[in-house]
Symmetry: C2
Subunit: 492 residues, 2 copies
């Protein structure tokens, strides 16, 4: 398989696909719109999942598991939610195959095994979960319920892209139930902060926190909070959402609780999720034409050591020298691979680990040992340095921290350079068609105007940032009055 | 909700259902045959999954993820496999719902969104995975592939039981590809050993390793290896299987590799899996009429400390005393909960933690502190003992190890007492209808006889144990010659 990757400048979209496939993150599958997450990609997902899972547990959440299927009658109970997802539902209608009498060796759907009620493959689990919570909640003593689920979901998308938009994807979905509106709001907001912390501190991708407009809101939510990230091609990507669901699902599924005064009320709800889409964001936020660039904190492999040798004797000497360094790295919790395989030349190995985005590479040869040094290369800047073997493990540990920080700062700088404040429609279009990025502009607050802007510019309102100052102005399209700026961008 | 559990002696099956539901492991759902795994049950599954995952990784395996759906044409490629699972396949036929024009607010399957090719919800993933491996394998250098997947699968069962037999369940499925027959055989055998080690050392359930007869073989396998466990009601339970698939799937999906001599050959395969069914086995192997009994190594919570106090002052004093003990336990990697909640009396708490099977309970009151002791109760034997506070954390650690060992030995003794060698049909039926358990008997080796025995006795051949000695004899049903004994039982 050729490992040549289309350069970003030439075709960003093709660069992305090449990179995802050639670095071994994922592969297309025989199922329309579904992908195979390959071991390297899944290893990355495990690192992300484990970090998130710990953050969820540290904030008091527990995991559970609910059915893959949602009976149609439950699915349609919350009308807005059902309407929003109806168009992309995979539907199970039969429960048996049988031998095809007209086609030896082939199977056909058994018409006698038709389900009385169709089952929707979950596109999201509010319906099945709130139907369950109904049995779990009687009194305020049963609240809050702070449950998360790691699961696969299916949304039948017509245009798919590896990780970014696939018919089936892996995600986590938190579903919480509360006695008061305020508590639910605080939960929704808290989980957005957890997501932001994860994306910034682990993925090294800065995000804008804000609130979605009505047009972009989750179907069935009262409000949707989001974090928005910027990719290197100037397009935005929604990296996570946290929904305040009000009492919508409690009403749809008749979930009431008696409070301390023995008064019955509907339960308040939130839901929040991030998915394997984050892997797409990670790739597009940092990587280059040589391959992936992975932040050390979530890289499946943080350090690779490549011996440069001729003959077994030199290899043995290098191995002897390297052993205690590997042990020291492991003791510091750093993942390290010693690649002494003899089926590839060092140069080939270097290119391969660059492609895979391993943050730090150490190369060491016989001459280096004489000089008590090794060559340390960092993946992000590709800088190489000759480093003394004395204390080299600690040097590497510090370097990993530096790379993590550098990636974040670089992305932050990029975002600052690609966030533009505009006041007219011409400026707006000029920025979008030019350098891209986030565009801060006034909007009159109506869904119609938002639709019209989207139609004309292909840009959407990514969010109303939490930190947006009150500032009167005029809508870039209609000239009508506006109270504050919102953040537009073309987006994935 | 009443926490009364039907006694085992009265109705074992009802006892099991009561226990699973009332201890908070799982719940029924609105979807026929599917269950909700509640937080406590999922916590248990996480402990089991994490232990297994580590064992898989320690033996060189990596995780990946393949699509939930299998196109019908791929599903039917390996005929035996397809035939075996066709009768229990959930089938997706449509990809969209739409508003029902005759039923306001309701949805209907959109007849215009019919899939060209139906998609089977995976009952197992050999087909989709081998269709993928075809692209991954060209040469012996690409082998072995040692991949595992954690996933949900669906098998449309008519009679379901929580954990033991559900339409959807969680499992792991290993799928490996090898250059030689011997290597594949060794892999299949190795993973059976991994399963046996896990079930015995973590779940404290002894197992018999053996090989399945042709009747009981996995559809599409050349041979199926299994581990069989014995439940407290004398019925057997298949706890895990590891399949040597030969070249069956490689041939069905045309997966060839060139060996070192550049000769093309089909790839050799194994697959192996365990599922949430193990939780059912765990419950039935150890628990009693008061609730669950969980082995310390996989108990989500290992130690609970309950203060016995009157007033805040006493509670503060106890808390002060208990704090360093909690810290010591945590430092030793022991999970501990200090239940100082004031919404329940100690007696109620004791019953609740017994129901949940927490291995060790420590109760401590003001008088105890005066005497520098605490009361330690172990869940398995319900023995209580007054233990000096000096070094009590270490005492608890040792006790946890002792409980783990004791549970295993008790189960081992039970199995020995319930494994009977018989030589005649009358003896065979007498044992099955009497004390139950494993029955070691001669069988003439034919599938017809095996079927007949099953029909007459409801017992199946659980396996031909690896350690069965060659011993000539006569089939208990037909009197025909037999070379060795096999293990029969009525089974879950």
């Amino acid at each position: 398989m050729s490992k040549v990757i289309t350069p970003q400048e030439q075709d960003y979209s093709q660069w992305y696909n090449d990179l995802v496939i050639k670095s071994g993150l994922a592969d297309y599958s025989a199922v329309r719109g579904c992908m195979v997450i390959k071991p390297y990609g899944y290893g990355l997902w495990e690192k992300m999942r484990d970090a998130l899972d710990k953050m969820f547990k540290d904030t008091g959440h527990v995991n559970a598991y609910f059915p893959l299927f949602v009976p149609k009658s439950l699915f349609e109970a919350e009308e807005k939610n059902a309407e929003g997802f109806a168009k992309e539902c995979a539907v199970v209608t039969h429960y048996r195959l049988k031998a095809d009498p007209n086609n030896k060796g082939k199977l056909m759907v058994d018409p006698e095994a038709k389900l009385e009620e169709e089952l929707v493959v979950r596109p999201t689990s509010e319906a099945i979960i709130w139907n369950t919570y109904k049995n779990w909640i009687q009194s305020y003593r049963d609240l809050p319920i702070l449950v998360n689920q790691w699961a696969n979901v299916v949304r039948w998308e017509m245009r798919t892209r590896l990780f970014l938009r696939t018919a089936e994807f892996l995600w986590q979905e938190g579903h919480t139930a509360h006695a008061t509106e305020q508590e639910a709001w605080e939960e929704a907001r808290k989980m957005l902060d957890v997501y932001a912390e994860f994306v910034e501190e682990y993925m090294a991708v800065p995000v804008i926190k804000g609130i979605k407009t009505a047009n972009e809101r989750f179907a069935g939510a009262v409000e949707t909070l989001c974090i928005e990230a910027l990719m290197q091609d100037g397009k935005a990507l929604q990296a996570g959402t946290s929904h305040f669901l009000g009492q919508n699902f409690a009403k749809a599924f008749d979930v009431k609780f008696s409070d301390k005064q023995n008064k019955l009320d509907y339960v308040w709800a939130t839901s929040w999720g991030v998915s394997t889409r984050l892997i797409g964001a990670l790739v597009m936020a940092h990587s280059d034409n040589s391959g992936l660039i992975l932040p050390p904190r979530i890289a499946p492999l943080q350090v690779v050591i490549v011996p440069i040798y001729k003959g077994d004797e030199q290899l043995a000497m290098i191995t002897e020298k390297v052993k205690p360094i590997i042990q020291q790295l492991k003791d510091m919790g750093i993942s390290v691979k010693y690649d002494n395989s003899d089926n590839a030349r060092p140069g080939w190995k270097f290119a391969e680990y660059e492609l895979q985005g391993v943050p730090v590479r150490m190369a060491i040869g016989a001459r280096d040992i004489e000089n008590n040094v090794a060559e340390i290369a960092r993946r992000d800047t590709k800088e190489k340095q000759s480093v003394s073997l004395d204390g080299i493990a600690f040097y590497i540990k510090t370097l990993l921290d530096e790379i993590q920080l550098h990636l974040y700062q670089k992305a932050l700088r990029f975002r600052a350079d690609h966030t533009t404040t505009v006041n007219t429609w011409d400026e707006f279009m000029e920025v979008l068609d030019g350098k891209g990025g986030f565009v801060s502009a006034h909007w009159d607050g109506s869904s119609e105007t938002e639709d019209k802007i989207k139609e004309l510019s292909k840009a959407t309102i990514r969010c109303i940032p939490f930190d947006a100052a009150e500032e009167p102005g005029q809508c870039i399209l209609t000239g009508k009055p506006s109270k504050q700026r919102v953040l537009f961008a073309r987006a994935y």
